[in-house]
Symmetry: D2
Subunit: 342 residues, 4 copies
């Protein structure tokens, strides 16, 4: 049996660990041959391949990124995309695909599965917002990087009596903010799921200064103020300290806090450093196990499924289930963190 | 309500995070007062206390160790131990206890609960071998430290064409070896649950050298050779390269591999560095949540329970359940890792 | 003898290590008493003090920030500032001052020394741009943090075929960019000392992509384009990919590269995480030695001097020498890095 | 011109950075061709080579180990060794050699230079004990790893009221112990240069416990007790707590302290993890600059020299000077650290 492997969407520590495990398990225990497709769905679409075997995968376990490359190419937005993919797989003698990716990549996989392509999915999102699985790999690495950054910022905040706003990833779900904020001892955590009241945030800031500790506010890039409680400063204006504030929620929030509390505030936008580099042990372990079980699912002919973590077990769930709904932070989970606000 | 808190047993990153969360939640949301008992069960036994409130807990979240101190004192091995503990609690006006510890500490808690002491437990073991919970805090930190060490040793092994044996913690269960070995790309992982065949280990070593990569063997301190397959060298003898090999399984194994394969082998015993220092984000998050829920359990009067992680939920299980049986690596879980051996 | 200690200017890992060493050496070997002045020159100006002895300094060696607090208060911009400082010192019975700080703080110290205040200086700048000393503490920590970030970004750059621009600290001198860029394997390093030609930068980007590796550009916050070679995009405009680019040199550079090369480019601004948190071993060692020697200088009555590293020796140089001139990257040093450009 | 490159002796983070820099500079600026010799002097002795160019060196900057492999082969202990090396170089058309290594490797280079081989040396020792240079690469990495380990052990020592002995590398010189001990806040540092008095060490232990902090003792593997002050326990005996103590100085010291003070003591032997893995930024910078200047020295025909760091300058010194004498910790440098003992 010949199996194609591809990785799609944004960078995520652990991708290489999945690839290595799929290949190792597939070759050793199931007698598969492998073919690597480059740059996500662009690979099978345009027939761009690379050899993939145990030797190719040597030494990649601790490396960030993906040896297969990635892209956001969507075959359903390309003329005759599906047809071309089927043709490539036929030409290459590829019987089944392992697709590693997030909502978009697995969304494509779901539709292809319905159209008769034999595909098994491995969920990947640094944001941890895929339903159907307790955790996705890459998330733990991102949370640790953000937590380390918060640890470092505490001393600056305290030495300078400043407010520090840390903007972390999370467009639609606040998981990174929630976990890193709890682990880093944030004074407030603002997430997309729950619009924030700027006045309450400023009250936390004041409280925190009373106890001689300076506040750290952790905010998801997708967090928004409550309606009617709109923040007054917009991009490009000068705030109370004469800084021109621009860009994303982190910068705007720092600006607004400065304006309202009279305390100097600065934003740090962690950005891409959250998604690169060597994965944590947890992410390597999870990614490796996803890979092993994906190879088994192919061997079992259980196509149209994706791997999921439930407790400490890896299970197979229908692809549609994993990508149908966004997993967001529940009010109860958010309430846990709020005990530490202020 | 007045609540006593104590930490018992070996050092474990995350203990301070539990203490901080119990206190914060208890004071803010349940109106509790707190009293810290020093050095595990010695505290309530001898009436050694320290003040414990939100202020005492400032800044401790990222710190390893425990501000309460620890010991292995067992009140059941001390004359009139239980009686004395009850008397101390009465004298101190303490209505309930939160006991944070491993098998021994929670074993005592279980018996005290049966004898009428109102106690809630928080499980703690770096070895992750407590049943009833998916993970314990401290484990993720230990695994990351061991994985980083393995990452570093790979380059030495390869540059010098040497075998490196890494001895990690785990007297009765191989969790740290399993996770760190998988995350670090070990050539073999030896755990207490499955006695190892030295000849097979040596075969992995040979295979590995054929592929131009040098082998790393990860071994739990509690691993043993299969019966009849006893290793020939004992402590104090000189091996093939003239090194006197001594001490634990790591050193003896390196010695034996050298003797049998003729390849130079060295052991690294990670020891105490696995259990100290700042916790990972995962461990801080888990410890914090255990603390929050323990305070709630006290408020609910659900004594005789301990906190447990199930998937991403914190649940309460009977203390006896958590300490009754050791959680060990199953043959299936071990088989997953074996795909990478050699 | 009674000695006051203060820390001024921006946060810098190693400040606490200096304080601890001054105090330890002063108390143990010279019989000094100590008094801590809070928040830089504000302390002696307004008489805000804290106790300072061996006990106060326990456990602070690995901590970032400064237990004394900091500020940018300049007594020469305050009415009767010098007079008030002299009065405070007299009132507190303080015979000599140890001032730990950068250009501004030591500039004040220099003038106060000329006006008869017995002061010894310890140089501090994360930017490493104080003349008279080979290195300043905090710099090595900042360079390591920036290097780690670059390490992480490599995998994202390669997996996504993207240009990544990393903006590091360095308003007037390019030391952090130079060291982190060399250590991180940057494709180009842009520093304030040498205005950059945007066309040459874009040529490096193209070359780099030809070799299948994606480029990382490291840029000091104070870097500027050559005259006449001005970049076309200004804040607030949309670039080739429709991103609104704003703010500092990092963002503008990414935007300009995108516009000119048609390759997607992103900026990461490391900001405050470069100056907080635990110091590296080098910075702890250097800071500790600066502290020990500063206490000795006070004992020797060698006022008006500051500590400096020359090779592996700590020497005393006149305060004026250390603060008179900015230490910048020489053309020769910059040329070394250029071998790796492209 | 054709230049051979080899790396000899023990593993040391930064070796790959040197190789990459030599090659890059040599090819780009001097038009050299390169040939890699494998496994130290074994390469030119037996004619074992590998291709070496800019492409071979891609991505190796952050990697520990050496892509050329290493060994301790000494051509002067091999029949007709020198003759054979000269023959290999002639056969391979190699005009000059860059030898990267420690005392042994450079000792061979020194003699070969005297016998007419055109060789330039790059000093390498994790122990930092080569005279002629302020620092060698790899040392800073080792010191940081040891310091991090000490940081982690502090919390265990304190939570358990235990003595922790940390054995670090340094057979003949105490640099790693001195720097890591100072950076980690050790209660005592024992180095080969100054035999220790076990009674004084125990006095430090007692003092430390009085202040409620537990002691960490850092000891070089080559440290020895003063004559007449011999330690009583030898390998294999049981100490006060019934532990059988074996092996090196770390274990024996812990045992002796337990016996004499009645405090529980444990040893941690860091071993090989000090010499593997990714180099620190400082080591990458130093190694890279050594490489650049070595290529220049070849271009200038300045054979028989080795590169050295003096302050922040890279200079060329005669090979004999760098290897003639061991650089050890002076009594003055050791005295600085002693301020913190106890």
């Amino acid at each position: 049996m010949r199996v194609g492997v591809l990785t799609g969407g944004g960078d995520c520590p652990g991708l290489n660990a999945v690839i290595r495990a799929v290949v190792r398990r597939g070759m050793h225990d199931h007698g598969f041959e492998f073919l690597g497709y480059r740059d996500g769905w662009r690979g099978p679409l345009e027939g761009v391949t690379m050899p993939l075997d145990v030797e190719t995968c040597r030494g990649i376990l601790p490396r960030g990124g993906t040896i297969l490359g990635s892209s956001r190419t969507n075959p359903f937005s390309v003329e005759r995309g599906v047809e071309r993919i089927k043709q490539t797989l036929a030409d290459d003698g590829v019987d089944a695909l392992v697709a590693i990716g997030g909502e978009d990549t697995l969304g494509v996989a779901t539709k292809l599965a319905e159209l008769g392509v034999d595909v098994v999915g491995v969920p990947k999102t640094i944001d941890n917002d895929l339903s159907g699985t307790d955790f996705t790999f890459g998330f733990d690495t991102a949370v640790n990087i953000a937590t380390e950054a918060i640890d470092r910022l505490h001393t600056t905040a305290e030495s300078h009596h400043r407010v520090l706003v840390v903007e972390v990833m999370g467009r639609h779900a606040g998981w990174i903010a929630l976990h890193a904020g709890m682990a880093g001892g944030a004074s407030a955590i603002l997430i997309p799921e729950q619009p924030f009241d700027i006045e309450r945030v400023c009250a936390f800031v004041e409280t925190r200064f009373e106890s001689e500790y300076a506040p750290i506010i952790v905010v998801s890039e997708g967090a928004v103020p409550v309606e009617g409680g709109e923040m007054t400063l917009t991009s490009g204006e000068k705030d109370a300290f004469g800084h021109v504030r621009l860009g994303g929620i982190g910068d705007r929030l720092a600006s607004e806090i400065e304006e309202r509390t009279g305390k100097e505030a600065r934003a740090v936008v962690l950005g891409h450093i959250q998604r690169g580099g060597t994965p944590t042990a947890f992410d390597r372990w999870l990614a490796t196990r996803f890979g092993l079980h994906a190879a088994d699912a192919v061997a079992d002919g259980e196509f149209g499924t994706m791997m999921a973590l439930r407790g400490t077990d890896i299970v197979r769930v229908p692809l549609a289930e994993g990508t149908g709904e966004l997993k967001t932070v529940s009010p109860e989970e958010y309430a846990e963190a709020q005990v530490f606000f202020g």
